[in-house]
């Protein structure tokens, strides 16, 4: 996995040509697009897992929901940071209330609330139910993030034209990051599952 990510970074700096108008700073786009894509995908998966939990009441699905929401929140945070850095070069401002930026910030906030709510509930099923409701409702913002620029005519670029080598590097980087973050969320999901079993086992010894 590490070598795949290293290859992606080498491709970003050595294979992708320098863009004419923004120069080296344009390479931020390769990271920004990858984390943004996985952030949105993860929130949809968290909502789907939360939805399945609500139907089946099986805590294993809550573990998937929590693991994907964590990965999604990490990626959305990085989307906002890298986007802000790119905006400083492209638009000469760190932040603007562009529709896509605003909807992305709303999504980030919804999932911050998701973790705050979960942290405040002790009982596992209550916690899972509350988390599932927030993630299912919050996922409604994902299509808005995707379509915001077209719907509200924002200034955020919509699939800008790239030369074939740039497209190839972007695709390769996106695949590498997707596999890496999937690996992380599977590790986290396994950890949550193990923690749940350890807690159940511990309660057998010490019911109080």
């Amino acid at each position: 996995m590490a070598s795949l990510l290293a290859a992606a970074m080498i491709a970003v700096f050595l294979v992708a040509p320098q863009e004419a108008s923004m120069g080296e700073s344009q390479r931020i786009v390769y990271l920004h697009v990858c984390v943004a894509w996985f952030g949105l995908l993860a929130f949809l998966l968290a909502a789907a897992s939360g939805g399945v939990y609500l139907l089946r009441r099986n805590l294993a699905w809550d573990n998937w929901a929590q693991a994907t929401a964590e990965a999604g929140w990490l990626c959305t945070s990085l989307t906002l940071v890298t986007g802000s850095l790119w905006a400083h070069e492209a638009w000469n401002t760190w932040w603007t209330w562009d529709p896509r930026l605003t909807t992305s910030l709303i999504l980030w906030t919804i999932y911050a609330v998701y973790f705050v709510i979960r942290a405040g509930i002790e009982e596992p099923h209550q916690r899972a139910r509350a988390g599932a409701l927030v993630s299912v409702v919050g996922a409604a913002d994902v299509p808005l993030v995707i379509t915001a620029t077209r719907l509200f005519r924002g200034m955020h670029p919509v699939s800008p034209e790239m030369e074939p080598r740039m497209q190839l590097v972007l695709l390769f980087t996106a695949i590498a990051f997707t596999l890496f973050f999937f690996h992380l969320l599977v590790v986290r999901r396994n950890q949550l599952e193990l923690a749940r079993r350890v807690e159940a086992w511990q309660r057998q010894f010490n019911p109080c």
């Binding site: 080296e24 700073s25 390479r27 931020i28 990271l31 920004h32 984390v35 990490l74 945070s77 990085l78 940071v81 890298t82 850095l85 790119w86 400083h88 070069e89 992380l184 590790v187 986290r188 950890q191 193990l194 923690a195 350890v198 086992w201 511990q202 010894f205 010490n206």
Partner: protein
């Protein structure tokens, strides 16, 4: 150029912190599991102590 370095550094530092946190969690869970496993093989009195310690 500074902005490019800041973007790449922020992503890799955040990822490293998350991976480090996952690793710490894994070790803590392994230690708890070991303590519980020892408790399950000990006497009743010791069980409670070990479970509390875990």
């Amino acid at each position: 150029m500074d902005v490019l370095v800041a973007a790449f550094a922020s992503v890799w530092v955040a990822v490293a912190l998350y991976v480090g946190w996952l690793d710490r969690n894994q070790r803590r869970l392994a230690a708890r599991l070991e303590a519980l496993s020892a408790a399950s093989q000990s006497t009743d009195g010791e069980k409670s102590n070990l479970a509390n310690a875990a």
